[in-house]
């Protein structure tokens, strides 16, 4: 018998680059997104939006609009408040957190420019927009609270007077002894960082169709969302419907990145509009609506300092983060999670023990800021990694050496961060060494020095990161949010011996269905092309947290693995009864029951299924063949599966124009067991590009009066192919021992550190000129300012 690698075993799919079966449909233009769906008697809604960032609603005149062609209903905040109970975006475990109650449409006041005020439902979207223009709203404009420092000022206008101030949450972490460490440190570096607001810009905007059937009290919602179960709960509770009568279907989703798991006012209103009309009502945000009503991300002003001894050993960090979240906290996940992750992830890769941080989350008259891909990670990573580079400068050390000196040793696990995060096993040193080799670091440095003499200014920046994945019940559930920490799978064998698998983790294009198919195929012992995976329908798939915070492989995949094993045991029990053998002596390979010892084929799986379904009379008395299993899994052990990695950015700066050419990105990351290298690598690349967008291009720019001034794709810059570099990826694999599968998450890894690596590379390129930059996006104007040219 020849020596086989793990991938040579029958049905060995884990670790293999398998293309996604469902991608063929999308490539043929046969995707079915919510934007594509048309239901019989469906109506369309357009919203009249506030032109002011902060104003009282004095009166609403809909008379003219009601008489316009095709108009079926015009609804105000008061109309919807009769059906829908208010919601409050707080969680109990953030002590002292506060946020005002919200309704689908406001009743007396608007709090950001672009807030939907009146809903106009008509036969077509165009007719609804025509009538929306004829709605007259009288506003009394109030002072807008825009800047985060102005919002905290003692005399600032309070956006929600009932809360007493514009402070949503104030958090502190202090291990003690920080002042003394700083006083006695050989080196102290300090910087003030600014992180602009940016937004997800999913290619498919938010889209929803609510279809309420009064005859059976059934609400069906076709919703472009990552988390259908969460919305089933929300729609049922706030509209007083039995949960079993609310069905949320998430078909193909045209991009999400965390943006499509928050509650949006227009979406909530659509439910009520359909209930009022008894007809399906569709809402699709246009691009301008997306810019003014999708969540924005980041928006932090961080002052931070780091202390080190004479050799460059990091001793302590002291951080003050102020983050602006808009006029209320998002629901149901709150807008504090971002700041919470920022101030808990600071310094995560390093060994120091003294840490002090202050987090202030403030309200302002802007659209809600909340979770977006790599929540908090880029902010914590950029601040930490820039300060580490500054220590390197102070102590005249190489950027790799300073990190090697300070990173937690690969054999020091398990251990805990000063902020309380428990690390099971990370691999910073292995990743750093791998990256250095991959990028040919010494050669790049030599080239950089040589080119500088010719007036060509290149920069090399590296950034080490820790990523939070696979959150357990201590993440949302502990705060009272009804967001499942477990996921489910129902795996069944059809009478032909095919396998049908319905799962609660959702497919967003990242390949969930594919990897679940790989896992089930391998552990059940069938060919992957005989497996069909279904996602995204609360009526036909088991309840679960679905896809957020990198849970797909680590939690969804583990669920599927355990389900497949359970089903396999059932199949072997039936097979043993038929074959009059011991179940332990049998196995399944490629859809055949085989002798476990010899792999000799005994009987086809399809024959078991045929007998079980059609000729159960031939089975021994008492045999009930269970060819469907339902299985749920919730993470236990560590509260999160932390992953880690390191990125490097190589860029060229034109010091005359401030324009930057990004030459190359390298990423080495450790997401534990890699199930499908093709999909993992593309997740990382996509994430890197979103991080580079934040670093160089993307910013939601507001005027002093709270108007978003660049709310279109002509004004808001998204990274394009021609501006993006090739991205080389390497892996280190440290499987988590908390699961049989060993997989952790990878979706945030690219975004987590790309902007930090880019910022360090920029400062490296600017070194000969003495300027520094500590703000993203690093626009040409900001770079020229840092260089002293403007």
């Amino acid at each position: 018998m020849s020596v086989l690698t793990p991938l040579d075993r029958p049905n060995s799919y884990i670790g293999r680059s398998v293309p996604r079966p469902n991608a063929k449909r999308l490539l043929a233009g046969r995707g079915r997104y919510v934007t594509d769906i048309t239901l019989p008697r469906m109506l369309h809604v357009a919203y009249v939006r506030s032109p002011y960032a902060h104003a009282r609603i004095l009166s609403i005149d809909t008379q003219t609009a009601r008489e316009m062609p095709g108009v079926r209903l015009i609804a105000t905040g008061e109309d919807l408040a009769k059906l829908c109970t208010p919601w409050v975006g707080t969680m109990d475990h953030f002590k002292g957190m506060k946020s005002p109650p919200q309704l689908p449409l406001p009743v007396d006041k608007v709090v950001w420019s672009g807030q939907a005020v009146v809903a106009v439902v008509a036969d077509t979207r165009a007719l609804a927009e025509d009538a929306a223009e004829a709605v007259y709203i009288a506003f009394d404009e109030l002072p807008a609270v825009v800047d985060i420092d102005a919002a905290r000022a003692p005399d600032a206008p309070v956006i929600s007077p009932e809360l007493g101030s514009n402070l949503c949450f104030h958090g502190k972490i202090d291990t003690g002894g920080v002042e003394d460490v700083f006083a006695g440190a050989a080196h102290v570096v300090e910087e003030e960082f600014h992180f602009g607001r940016h937004t997800a810009v999913t290619m498919e905007p938010r889209a929803i169709i609510a279809d309420y059937d009064a005859s059976e009290g059934q609400l069906t919602v076709h919703h472009a969302t990552q988390t259908p179960y969460q919305f089933q709960d929300i729609y049922a509770r706030h509209y007083g419907l039995p949960e079993s009568r609310v069905r949320v279907i998430a078909p193909d989703i045209g991009g999400s990145f965390g943006m499509k798991l928050h509650m949006y006012h227009e979406d909530m209103a659509v439910i009520g509009l359909s209930m009022m009309l008894g007809r399906p009502v569709k809402y699709v945000a246009d691009r301008i609506e997306s810019f003014v009503s999708d969540i924005h991300a980041r928006d932090h002003r961080v002052r931070a300092r780091m202390a080190a001894d004479a050799e460059g050993n990091i001793l302590a960090m002291d951080v003050e983060d102020v983050t602006g979240i808009g006029a209320f906290s998002a629901y149901p996940r709150t807008s504090v999670v971002e700041g919470n992750q920022v101030y808990r992830l600071m310094g995560a890769p390093y060994t120091f023990r003294n840490y002090r941080a202050d987090l202030q989350v403030v309200f302002q008259n802007k659209v809600q800021m909340s979770q977006y891909r790599a929540v908090g990670h880029p902010v914590a990573c950029t601040v930490t990694e820039r300060l580490v580079d500054m220590i390197a400068d102070k102590t005249a050390q190489d950027v790799f050496d300073i990190r090697s000196r300070n990173m937690i040793a690969d054999d020091a696990y398990p251990c805990t961060s000063p902020t309380g995060y428990q690390f099971e096993a990370l691999s910073h040193h292995a990743c750093l060494a791998r990256l250095k080799a991959m990028m040919g670091y010494e050669r790049l440095r030599a080239e950089q020095a040589e080119l500088r003499t010719k007036g060509i200014h290149r920069g090399i920046g590296i950034a080490t990161f820790v990523e939070i994945t696979n959150p357990g019940p201590a993440f949302y559930g502990v705060g009272g949010a009804r967001i499942s920490s477990q996921d489910g799978a129902i795996v069944k064998i059809t009478p032909s011996g095919d396998v049908h698998c319905s799962i609660s983790v959702t497919e967003l294009g990242q390949g969930t269905e594919t990897i679940i198919g790989q896992i089930v195929a391998e552990h059940l012992g069938v060919d992957s092309n005989r497996i069909k995976v279904m996602t995204g329908d609360t009526d036909t798939t088991p309840h679960g947290g679905a896809t957020y915070a990198c849970r797909g492989a680590g939690i969804g995949g583990e669920t599927a693995l355990q389900a497949a094993k359970k089903l396999k045991a059932n199949v072997l029990a039936v097979a043993a009864a038929i074959l009059q053998d011991e179940p332990e002596k049998l196995d399944i390979h490629s859809g055949w029951i085989v002798d476990a010892a010899t792999a000799q084929q005994r009987m086809e799986l399809s024959e078991i299924a045929r007998i079980a379904y059609f000729r159960s009379d031939t089975l021994p008395p008492g045999t009930q063949a269970q060819l469907s299993v339902a299985h749920h899994y919730a993470p236990q052990g560590y509260p999160f599966a932390f992953t880690n990695g390191v990125q490097a950015c190589h860029l060229e700066l034109d010091v005359e124009t401030g324009l930057v050419k990004i030459l190359k990105l390298w990423v080495v990351e450790d997401c534990g067991r890699v199930i499908n290298p093709l999909l993992v690598d593309e997740q990382i690349r996509g994430g890197v590009v979103q991080g580079l967008g934040a670093a160089f291009f993307e910013e939601c720019v507001y005027g002093d009066n709270g108007q978003l001034t660049n709310g279109s794709l002509a004004d808001y810059l998204v990274p394009m192919a021609v501006e993006m570099p090739d991205i080389e990826i390497g892996h280190v694999e440290t499987p988590t021992l908390d699961t049989q599968l060993g997989a952790k998450g990878v979706g945030e890894a690219g975004t987590a550190a790309a902007s930090a690596a880019a910022l360090n590379a920029m400062n490296d390129a600017m070194k000969p000129f003495g300027g520094t930059v500590a703000q993203v996006p690093m626009t040409p104007a900001r770079i020229l300012k840092a260089l002293g040219h403007i």
Partner: protein
Amino acid sequence: MNDLVHVTMTVNGTEVSHSIAPRITLADFLRQTLELTGTHAGCEMGVCGACLVILDGRVVHSCLTFAVQASGAAIETVEGLSERTAIADLQEAFHQRNALQCGFCTPGMLMTAHALLSQPGVPSREEIRDALSGNYCRCTGYEAIVDAIEKVARDRDAGVIAQASEEVSA
């Protein structure tokens, strides 16, 4: 505004006639009237490229074209190119290379790739990236898309895959 006008055009080889409002864009006409939902609307201002279709041999933004402007023209969408297997090699290369995630931008990407590869010669990676400068993708890092297009360009040049000799200009 709501007086209907009659339009007749050939879409994916079939003549269609409809009475529509003059303000209907070609994108909405294809998507809503003809139910050809492969063409997508991402920005509705000619920036993102999700709505690209071929109009009389030229790749155009269907969101910036009124359906009445296309009356009398021959339109081809991703469905038409798929059905007559004109882009089968591109689709296969995209599939193998995972050059798509959510797939929303993909029909537009395929249009641009189809137009680019209908020109003589083998484009460099830089030229491919440049050609894609009217197509936004938010999921991939673009690299896989460039890889897939580059592979097809080389394969076609090497005669690995026979292609229809058709000219499409970007």
